[in-house]
Symmetry: C3
Subunit: 210 residues, 3 copies
């Protein structure tokens, strides 16, 4: 079956999209190449690294799959030549899709790794969401901004939570691992794409309410 090749393609696409979000933000802040590489690296690998440290898992996944490191390095080095093109409308749309796929894949793979490490359902969903979103949080902290996913009001982390919950529910009802994963990714990525397409808004969780 070619399912594993599909997973691989999604993983590469997600990593590229996450790295690009960091790369673009760092360039906007007029950083030098060290800043651009660092922020791109943290955006792409921060979530998985925090997950691995919290679960005490070694080797870290970017140590194990070093090709991803080289990929991000190559992206940063060549960025000035292709970034203009990537920022045009088609490129932006492609990136939204790749980012949503990365969100779904990292949320489910993170949750699945946590389950394998003996974590409870709640902790597993949290670990999956951590894998998917902490890179972006670290990116914004390094760029000296309040993390975007905390104030954007457009569902992102919640899509990862929903996907992780569906994955665990399917697995708990005896659905085979690959299919449960596919269902989880579909829910996380699907809800994210819908949220972007229809501009769904979360309410502020404010103090004003009486």
């Amino acid at each position: 079956m070619k399912l594993s090749a599909l997973w691989m393609a999604i993983e590469v696409g997600g990593t590229v999209a996450f790295a690009m979000s960091g790369l673009i933000e760092a360039m906007r802040k007029r950083m030098d190449i060290v800043g651009v590489f660092s922020v791109a690296f943290v955006s792409a690998f921060g979530g998985g690294t925090v997950r691995d440290v919290l679960l005490d898992r070694r080797p870290l996944f970017w140590v194990e799959h070093e090709a991803y490191l080289w990929l991000v390095l190559a992206m940063v080095l060549t960025a000035p030549w292709w970034l203009q093109v990537a920022l045009r409308e088609t490129g932006a749309r492609l990136m939204t899709v790749a980012d949503a796929l990365g969100l779904g894949l990292f949320a489910i793979s993170g949750a699945s790794i946590a389950v394998a490490a003996g974590m409870s359902p709640l902790v597993s969903v949290l670990m999956g969401t951590t894998t998917a979103v902490v890179g972006g949080v670290a990116r914004d902290v390094l760029c000296n901004e309040v993390p975007q996913i905390y104030r954007d009001h457009r569902p992102y982390a919640l899509c990862a939570v929903a996907g992780g919950a569906v994955f665990l529910a399917l697995a708990a009802h005896g659905v085979a691992g690959e299919w449960a994963s596919a269902g989880g990714v579909a829910v996380a990525t699907g809800t994210r794409l819908l949220a972007v397409a229809f501009d769904w808004q979360l309410p502020g969780w404010g103090i004003r309410r009486s």
Copy 2:
């Protein structure tokens, strides 16, 4: 004896107070529910998590005592209905006391865990203080502020240091564990409450001095 029930009550109160400090700060920044939950979570569990990672201790304490996770989740979900009340004067005063109790308890429990892991007195006091204050530091970093405890000039971390030192000194002089702990918590919490009540001020540690 009912001492362990008392510890448990203090621990719940401290966790609630720490989570509330994050919850309020995140709401002030007009974050959405994802931001409010993340910042409340980090405020409550950040210090203990950093301590556990530095000491290479697993499972993390919020993985072991998952009830705390559910508690913080429930607090965030219901916050809009009770927060107004909590912010009135009595609520604010209650929170200052709960926060001071949490400071003392986390400082001593952190130091005691470090001692059990074979750390030296200096490192143990540092680990206790880390447990007590790093959640608040992470909260402020995520909210894009200079950490409050670094610039507040009202003793907070130093109360944790004092309590940890007293705890270690008592234990070194043969005082039984429970009583040494009680002494340490009393010093940390007591000095903190005195600092708030009498508005003690630390001097700036400035460059101007000649």
Copy 3:
């Protein structure tokens, strides 16, 4: 031989220089003594701590060599009395040299620890650079600034990369450990001092290019 005494002297000098960079930054932000100590501590030990956590290495190096902790503590406590002097021109120049030596030493010792832990050349160079620069990044995040090394455009992290690469290349060609280390430190420290002396500038890695 007196080589190990030389290493020790460089390590002390580098730690002092790193701690001072945090101490000065924190004082500029008008922090109290808790803030000044925390930022100095993180500047001096943050890089090595992150390296040790990522490589899952215990005891942490500041737990193993506790004298460094006491040194930083003593520096912070006495700072108001000597800092004026240190900030005059000779002091500033001395600090640039000590910082460059620290950069070189930490980059090479970090890379060498990573190699010993079985890491690949790319990961080892990254770990060395992490050891040398992450303390400064954490210092700037705590002071609520965009990390200086990301936007300074004057080579710093790249000198650590160059030194690490030379160290690995020498070791791979059979040069004995001590000499390979010396070569790596010389390249990292030397390029850094040249960059400062001749005001080398990295180009912005910007979006404007067409």
